[in-house]
Structure formats: C-alpha cells, structure tokens
Symmetry: C2
Subunit: 213 residues, 2 copies
C-alpha cells in the first residue's frame, strides 16, 4: 500500500525531524522529498504552494490532498488523524499545546541556532550567540525541573509534546549544551529513544528523495 | 453575573493583551489580576501553580477551575469554548494554528524585544538588536505579502490567528518598525480595530487588579 503521507524537508533540519519522528512513532511510512535549501528550493513557487511560509517541513496528506506547515501544527494534525499521542483527555491536550507553544517561544530557537553556528551553517556575532546560549540554558532548566518525578511531559504516556520537545533537545549537544547537568532530561530522552518506532535523524531522514516504487 | 474568566497579567505585556483582546472580542468580561513582574510576582509558588512556565498571561476559567497558559493556546481554548473566531472549517482551523505557530517562531520575539529595548525594559548589545530588527522586518514582509487581496489572515472572517498576530503587530511601531511600507498590514489592522469589542491595550488592561464587586 502506498504511504498516506509525503514529507518535504531536509535531513539536517530539526523541525523536519520532529515530523519524521512523529510519523515513525505512529507507524506511518512516508514518501520523502528532499528540499535543497542552499539552492533556494524552499522559495520556489512550487514549494510556496505547499508551504506558504517557505520553510521546511511541509507535509502532504495524500489521502485528502491536505498540505500542512509548521512542525507542531503538523504533529497536532497527526495526533488527530491517527488517534495517537494526543493526550488522554482534553486537559492533557491543553497541556500538550501549551508545551508546544512554549517550545517555539523559549527552547527551539536558541538551541537550533547554537547548533547552526556550531556546524557552520549560520554566522552570528559573539554577543548574539551568548544571548542564545543563555536562553537555551534557561529553557533546558525549566524542562529539566518539570520532568522531575515524571516519565513524560504531560500525563502518564508519551505525547506529541514529548515528540516536539525531543526534536529540539536531541540537537542540544551538537549546539554545545551539556545535558550532564540535566539528569531528568537525560532520563526522559532515554525513555523516548526506547519507544517502538523511534529513530535518530540519521535513521529517519534520507539525504535524497524517496518515493514508493 | 460574575465573569467566567480571570486574567492574570501586566498591562505592558503583549501576550497579556492578546488574551484580553480575545476575551473582549468574544464579549467576555473578565476579572483581572495585576502581576508585578519587577517584584518577581510571576516566580512565586502561587503564580507557578497557575502557570508552570512563570510567564504572563495566565487565564483561569472560573466555570471549571481550568488554569491556562501560553497566549496562543489560550486563544485556541477561547475559540473552542465560545465557538467564536476558531475558523469556519477544519481546514481553516489548521491554517489558523499554522499562523499562530509561525507567529511564535518568527514574528513575536523580535518585535516584542525591539519594543522592550526601545522602552528601556530590556538591554541588549547592538548586534543583538540588529538581528531582531532584521528578523522582525522579514516576518512583517511575509505577513504583508500574505494579506494582499485578503481581508483577514485565514478565510473570510476574523479568527484567533488575526487576534494573535494583531497582538504583536500593534506593538511594532513602538519597537521602531515602520508600517508605512506595509500597506496590507495597515489596512488589516484598521479592519481589526473596527470589530465590535476591539480595544487598545490601554483600554483593555488595567494597571491594577480588578474584581467584580
């Protein structure tokens, strides 16, 4: 059977990984379209028709033609259509959403950018990087404290909040953030990595397009 | 009748304004609790029990005891419980959510921070501020281009995406961003400002707590 979803992204992109991880944990195989950002492929009219923001990832639901943007919004959609990882109750779903907005607000930007600088994708003034580093550390401290006594971010089971946040924190060491002082985060990451369907970015994101034969 | 909602925030906070504007446009009167950030009131155990992130705003739904955090997540909740401004269809709701995550990702941080610097609430290195300014201008350009030929951000009617984005763009001039070159944004703002229940931050956010007698 042909996959239901087609993911457009790039293997080095944290937000693309969030969606690939969500799909894989939901047991959804997916077609994959490599978007070479260096060639400006995300700013072409064809790509902008998929994602008006000109950002990766984009997800197509081939069962109904929907085109989806923004990793956290895509995870909410996946939770809705698969019935997985959406939280066990309305209250849990509300908490899940709060954590995903908090991620966008406080965590993802500084960690992804510090990683970009460390890998040489991004250049920035030293004071700018120092600001990101301080923000990233502060956000990691909030998450670490929250995870004390908890197995997952919301409720008793993994949710899209875990998937979303893991898709940032996975890159923290590459951005120069040590997780040695964040024992709750380290244990939580091990729990995510033990879930059926878990894969690293290298395992889940091809470096070239992949379509079902 | 006592109001259903109690908003906790501070009159100078853009995210607090987003929620106050949403409540007002929904026709919901609300009790208001002033949170003096300079005194660290958002880091007290009592406030952290309302909002685990230690950020304003927080919203209490007094009808069921729910405590809600993150302005965009609160706007989603308001849309759900009032049946207003949530989009006319599932597809519109998906678009609305994408725009709110995009706001958190690209627009709100640079604009709020440039305003904070301009007002003297925040100090930052010149290179840091230049980075925020460039990001804010880029995001405003995306929004302006999107609004060409559209009355509202998603669909034919105002939604929580408009409320959320307006609650940032309203502060752009105070942050030193000129909207003269953003004619679509300027016309869209006038449309929001003409909605029944619209109020400025000064009109909607008291400088002290306010409870129903």
């Amino acid at each position: 059977m042909a996959p239901r979803f087609r993911l457009h992204g790039i293997h080095l992109s944290g937000p693309t990984y969030k969606v690939a991880l969500g799909l894989s944990l939901c047991g959804e195989a997916f077609d994959y379209e490599h978007v070479p950002l260096r060639e400006g492929a995300h700013k072409t009219p064809a790509f902008l028709a998929l994602n008006r923001f000109g950002q990766v990832p984009a997800l197509e639901d081939l069962s109904n033609g929907r085109r989806l943007a923004q990793a956290a919004a895509i995870l909410e959609y996946l939770a809705d259509v698969t019935g997985r990882f959406g939280g066990a109750s309305l209250d849990e779903r509300l908490r899940v959403r709060e954590w995903m907005y908090w991620d966008y607000d406080r965590l993802a930007v500084p960690i992804y950018r510090c990683r970009g600088v460390a890998l040489g994708f991004r250049k920035a003034d030293e004071a700018v990087v120092a600001g990101w580093r301080a923000e990233g550390e502060a956000a990691l401290a909030v998450l670490d404290a929250h995870l004390a006594g908890r197995d997952f971010v919301v409720g008793e089971a993994p949710s899209i909040a875990d998937i979303d946040l893991y898709g940032v924190v996975h890159y923290a060491p590459a951005g120069g953030f040590s997780l040695v002082e964040r024992p709750q985060i380290a244990r939580w990451m091990a729990r995510i990595e033990a879930l059926p369907g878990y894969g690293t970015p290298e395992a889940l994101l091809p470096t070239q397009s992949r379509a079902t034969a």
